[in-house]
Subunit: 159 residues, 2 copies
Amino acid sequence: MQSPSQLAAAFRARGLKVTPQRQLLFALLESDTTHPTAEGLYARASTQMPGISLRTVYTTLTDLVAMGELQAVGLGSGATRFDPNVDDHHHGVCDSCGAVVDVYVQGSEALIVDGDGQFAPESASMVFHGTCAACADALATSSSDPNPTQPPIKEHHHG
Amino acid sequence: MQSPSQLAAAFRARGLKVTPQRQLLFALLESDTTHPTAEGLYARASTQMPGISLRTVYTTLTDLVAMGELQAVGLGSGATRFDPNVDDHHHGVCDSCGAVVDVYVQGSEALIVDGDGQFAPESASMVFHGTCAACADALATSSSDPNPTQPPIKEHHHG
DNA sequence: GGTCCAATTTGCAGAACTTGCTGATCTGCA
DNA sequence: TGCAGATCAGCAAGTTCTGCAAATTGGACC
């Protein structure tokens, strides 16, 4: 994702207005590596701008995604996450704390996708499940408390 | 997924009862390769058993998933799909008609997942987007009607 | 700086999907 | 056959997201 000022210019170039709400969201998203949900961004935005509406957050996120400045990440369950990193990458979900991390995958070109003419893939999105570094450390030192600081995973109803 | 009679035995072995509703769902799911949603199964079940509740469908699907007889497939958006194929495989989504097909991937062991100690992957789920055979054919013969028989994709709000 | 119009914001309603709850009913097993 | 406990249907509610309309605002133009 570009810088807030570059985003402002890009919005204006598209005939979209640069409002304080949008500027705040630009700033919140910049270099955010936590893959927040719309609700999460709304909560953070609300602390700095009480009264901002969730609807506005969704609208701005949708615009950014349409402009290719933001990636919408569906993890298979739960709310859509938003990622200012629009490189060609994938995601890892920590099964212990629920954190979502960027993951770069090499060798995906060499994958043999068996469709036998049934299906011609054009793009792939991969979601890895595993353990993040913080939780791996926590598990190594104390096997009884795998989740020292972060909240528990709320939902995860797919395999 | 096992046969309906085997599932019945498996349910009883787990202390779960085998009701007519469940038997119907076992039969509907067997060899179903369309990756139906809970609502879709409910609709089909309702034609054979008017009055069956959507709640019962969800409950039974959840049980089957817990028993490893069924795979819940989250595609990143829209309702969860259910797949009686519990082999190690992935899924392809046709961007033209929305069909979901099973996809077998070779070479995933050779993938280099860059976490550099940040993330230790244990499993992966991959969703491919592309074009299914039927739509590829339709596009080849008539470029104006890419969707000859199937309903349009309803939602697809991620990249 | 002032004017004007289209874009934006907001709040609310509602859709889509899923889960929780509960009395009545039904099943498995002895 | 009878009992304990599982299951069912229906409704309510929770989560996530979108549609809508009135009031407001950004920013181009003068």
